[in-house]
């Protein structure tokens, strides 16, 4: 596999109003890899994803698949192939599961391809097929997380942004979600940027990892090495 850079951020800062939450960070995402951003609550992980999706004010440069994202709206970035599974999963809770998946394919027009992809998603998540015509809001948190990942897959994304996929889930469900993410990585080569507080789960899946603290990157490297280093684990990851 070629190690092509899919996304690179340079001097990326982000703001909520006048409050600066990212302080000029640099990072790269390599195609086909899983990149993890780890850090405590409020470190700037979610803000990084929101910055990439154009949901908050930013300065600095982001290059994605060979073109600058500056000035592009959230919906344009989605159409370019950035599938953001947001905090809280962004479920359309009063619509059916199938409609939620259809919405993921909203910027595509290949009907046959969409139908095939819905089948593919049901293949990964059999529970979604069982409940295809029920309201999405009636599902459990874990099932909604799966639906959100399925919806993102329907976009045929070049890059998936996953915001705490383990958040609020029972340990067994966390394992289930991560097993599926691993299959997506290995079988389909989906590139992912994964933001997590659950460092152990994320490091087991990721290729690269960045540690982020109060809006700055304090360390980066191969996920394996970071996971092995006891000092880093104690100091930053708390396990």
């Amino acid at each position: 596999m070629m190690n092509r850079t899919l996304l690179s951020a340079r001097k990326l800062s982000a703001f909520y109003g006048a409050t600066r939450v990212l302080h000029g960070i640099d990072f790269d995402i390599i195609e086909g890899n899983v990149t993890a951003f780890l850090g405590a609550n409020g470190a700037g992980k979610t803000s990084t994803l929101r910055a990439l999706s154009g949901m908050i004010e930013t300065t600095g440069e982001i290059d994605f698949a060979g073109q600058p994202l500056k000035g592009k709206s959230t919906e344009e970035r989605a159409q370019l192939g950035i599938a953001h599974v947001p905090e809280g999963r962004g479920t359309f809770s009063r619509m059916t599961i199938e409609e939620n998946l259809q919405l993921g394919a909203m910027s595509r027009s290949d009907r046959a391809g969409i139908a095939a992809d819905i089948e593919r998603v049901y293949g990964y998540f059999p529970k979604l097929r069982e409940r295809a015509h029920q309201q999405a809001g009636t599902m459990s948190g874990g099932e909604q997380q799966m639906l959100a990942i399925g919806r993102a897959l329907m976009m045929r994304p070049k890059l998936m942004l996953l915001d705490e996929p383990s958040f609020g889930l029972a340990p067994l469900m966390v394992d289930e979600v991560y097993t599926i993410l691993r299959r997506l990585k290995e079988d389909e080569g989906v590139s992912m940027l994964l933001v997590e507080q659950n460092a152990a789960a994320a490091l087991a899946l990721a290729d690269q990892a960045y540690l982020i603290e109060t809006g700055e990157i304090v360390m980066s490297g191969l996920a394996q090495e970071i996971g092995r280093d006891e000092n880093i684990r104690r100091a930053y990851l708390g396990y």
């Binding site: 949901m55 919906e75 947001p86 962004g90 809770s93 619509m95 919405l103 909203m106």
Partner: protein
């Protein structure tokens, strides 16, 4: 009995118009979270456009559809030019702009077409049907309303654009993240609301006569219908609109109420629903986390 039945049918026919106005209000409310006070004036202006086209000699049905198209474009333009820049403005700015739009359309229509009452034709005639149970215009009005509602239901239920519009109303942030052009969906909602209003205006104009203030009380009934059904529920708004029409007509039977107090009943209904069940009969409670 005959009289009651005929009053109920008459109530359903005007109720259909209230249902259309209520639906137009709910569509815009879902898109931008504000009540469009100018919805009635937009409908009135559309009806004047229809009147002008008829006056120039265009036959009724081409006029009908051309007016719907013009109103749709007008609605989209109002959103793009006036409301898009106001997206993040406080609620008071919206209210002021709605009042301005109301005044501009109202006096604009008066300026162009004057304030004299004009008659507006009905394509259905006014012959009594079923042993004078209902007039043919009332029957036509109910039919048109039902066709419009079925088309709208099919649009929102079975088309991709309809799905995208529902997603935009339900969760704009998530809609953006899947690549839906939220701004255009909102503009489309305005266009459709304007088009629905135009149909309502053209249908009710033969009954109330055409003049710049013709929609004021009708919009009030539309608001009542929307509030009764629930501002978050398009289906509720439609049912509410029909219900208000029937209640309005039947209230004529209550001694000492008569026609003069009909409007009072609509307002009393709004107050009663807002007091007892603020989310309306079919609406849902919106929980805001702070």
């Amino acid at each position: 009995m005959q009289l009651v039945l005929s009053q109920i049918l008459a109530g359903l026919s005007t109720g259909g118009i209230y249902a259309c106005m209520a639906l137009a209000i709910v569509m815009i409310y879902q898109a931008i979270d504000h009540l469009n006070f100018a919805q009635g004036e937009m409908a009135m202006f559309s009806t004047f456009i229809a009147w002008q086209l008829l006056h120039w000699g265009l036959p009724y049905w081409p006029t009908f559809f051309l007016t719907i198209a013009i109103s749709f474009v007008g609605g989209v333009l109002i959103e793009r030019i006036i409301f898009k820049p106001l997206k993040n403005a406080p609620i008071l700015s919206h209210i002021v702009v709605f009042i301005a739009l109301f005044a501009i359309l109202n006096s604009g229509a008066g300026f162009i077409w004057d304030f004299n009452i004009k008659s507006f034709p009905t394509p259905f005639g006014t012959t009594p049907l079923f042993g004078s149970l209902i007039s043919s215009h009332d029957a036509g009005m109910i039919s048109v309303t039902i066709i419009v509602l079925i088309l709208l239901y099919a649009f929102f239920r079975y088309t991709r654009v309809g799905l995208a519009m529902r997603a935009t109303a339900a969760n704009p942030e998530s809609a953006r993240l899947v690549g839906i052009r939220v701004g255009w969906m909102i503009a489309l909602g305005w266009g459709m609301a304007a088009a629905i209003g135009a149909i309502a205006g053209m249908m009710i104009a033969p009954v109330v006569f055409l003049e710049p203030n013709m929609m004021v009380s009708i919009l009030l009934y539309g608001f009542a219908g929307a509030v009764v059904g629930g501002l978050t529920s398009p289906l509720g708004a439609v049912i509410g609109g029909f219900a208000v029409g029937v209640i309005e007509n039947l209230s004529g039977f209550i001694p000492d109420v008569g026609n003069e107090l009909k409007l009072t009943i609509a307002l009393a209904l709004i107050v009663a629903v807002l007091t007892i069940r603020p989310q309306g009969l079919f609406g849902r409670v919106i929980v805001t986390r702070v």
